[in-house]
């Protein structure tokens, strides 16, 4: 039997100490050990984007990262971004524009969209599409999602002006 490995990391601002098997991926660690089930697991091979989280400030696929690789790092999940209010306007725009239906992809979409809006204040529709191209949605046909991200970018610009 493989030995467990001790890890220490920060998740949504809180210190977490755990002992995990090497094969445990970060998505399953977040969901099953920390009960933060906002991070969804879809394809488990990096294609669908449902498990997108932030590690050390960058969005990553949590299904393509081992929990042991997050040792010493800082992880933010959709719960963190939601509770802090960081994506409140984006969530509002998604709701307003019906940019979700079943909601399975939404946490990953919000993660990827917020990442873009931090990098770029005025993204074009093509740039939004490109940044979200690694996140699949099987319900909406994407147009409403792009509308919601575009609207949020506009609102943030007018607030900061």
């Amino acid at each position: 039997m493989t030995a467990s490995i001790p890890i220490s990391l920060e998740v949504n601002g809180e210190r977490v100490e755990a002992s995990v098997l090497p094969r445990l991926n970060l998505a399953d660690f977040i969901r099953e050990h920390l009960q933060l089930t906002g991070t969804h697991v879809g394809c488990e091979h990096g294609v669908c984007g449902a498990c997108t989280v932030r590690v050390n400030g960058d969005i990553v696929r949590s299904c393509l990262m081992l929990a042991v690789q997050a040792h010493g790092g800082s992880v933010q999940t959709i719960e963190g971004l939601s509770d802090s209010g960081e994506v409140a306007d984006l969530q509002g725009a998604f709701r307003e524009r019906n940019a979700l239906q079943c909601g399975y992809c939404t946490p990953g979409m919000l993660m990827a969209a917020q990442d873009l809006l931090k990098l770029q204040a005025e993204p074009s529709r093509d740039e939004i599409r490109e940044h979200l191209s690694g996140n699949y949605c099987r319900c909406t046909g994407y147009q409403a999602i792009i509308d919601a991200v575009e609207t949020t970018a506009g609102q943030r610009r007018s607030r900061s002006a």
Partner: protein, 292 residues
């Protein structure tokens, strides 16, 4: 699916990684960014007994200029290459190619060394290494050696690395100031693996190619440096000459059928890529009529 059980070791240094590889050989796999390895493990295509995590070896990260060379550490992430001012100035081909590698969340973890050592014939970066005439620096028990990109890639997921060696850096000769590049790939959707692609590096003097390297990808079991480029060097490129070079490209490539495209279609696309590449680099749109 989930990866099968494996043992895990963190390598503290290159020497440490080499020692672990020397002990465990083929039973072990190196983990850098994990963006190709972990999907393969999750799909149970491979089940290594030991994962050697080299992600923490700081000396393998970063981009530095040394003399006439740009040196990229093997653990440098795609996003770092994409944003590097040195790469933008001296290897803009690489910057352009990276945009086509998967998606932002993948580029935040994936590393250049991981991509090259993985040696997927459909991936962009190995072909760029051919076009840029890069050397790959590897280290093993016997010390360090340099392998020319043209000798490094040996087949589908096959490289010249021995089981006890790891890729530590990539060295790109700085191209002359007046050089230019071309990059294009055909994919079903942005970020997908290419159906056929071309990474090219050139120097044009007085409307004539003084230097031209054509690195094709997704048209064989490894990236291919097309010999047909030589036909276009040192001569005024006419539609007849381009047509001849295009035939030569078609003859030297041996693309395979898969679920994405037939070999015949890939061969056709390789010719289309050559025409677009030459017409674009020479700013002669009339040459596009050769294949389109």
């Amino acid at each position: 699916m989930k990866a099968a059980d494996f043992a895990y070791a963190r390598a503290a240094s290159v020497e440490d990684a080499v020692a672990l590889l020397a002990t465990h050989g083929d039973r072990a796999k190196l983990l850098s960014g994990g963006q190709s390895l972990l999907p393969a493990m999750n799909l149970r295509l491979i089940s290594p007994e030991l994962i050697i995590d080299i992600g923490g070896i700081a000396e393998l990260r970063g981009i530095a200029m040394t003399g006439n060379t740009v040196r990229i550490g093997a653990l440098t992430r795609h996003v770092d290459v994409q944003r590097s001012l040195e790469i933008a100035a001296h290897a803009p081909l690489l910057k352009e190619a990276i945009i086509h590698v998967a998606h932002p969340a993948i580029r935040n973890r994936g590393t250049i060394g991981g991509s090259l050592a993985h040696a997927d014939p459909a991936s962009e970066l190995p072909a760029c290494m051919l076009a840029l005439d890069a050397d790959l620096v590897v280290q093993g028990k016997g010390g360090e050696r340099r392998i020319a990109a043209g000798d490094f890639f040996q087949g589908v997921f096959q490289t010249a690395l021995s089981p006890d060696e790891l890729l530590t850096a990539i060295e790109l000769p700085i191209p002359p100031r007046n050089s230019s590049f071309f990059f294009h790939e055909f994919t079903r959707r942005h970020g997908d693996y290419a159906i056929a692609g071309l990474a090219a590096q050139s120097v044009i003097e007085g409307g004539i190619f003084a230097h031209l390297r054509l690195g094709y990808f997704a048209v064989g079991d490894r990236p291919v440096l097309a010999d047909a480029a030589k036909k276009l060097i040192g001569k005024m490129v006419t539609p007849a000459l381009l047509s001849e070079a295009s035939e030569a490209v078609g003859n030297e490539l041996d693309p395979q059928d898969d679920q994405q495209a037939s070999g015949v279609m890939r061969r056709h696309l390789a010719k289309v890529l050559l025409t677009r590449c030459v017409a674009t680099l020479l700013s002669q749109p009339e040459l596009l009529r050769v294949t389109e």
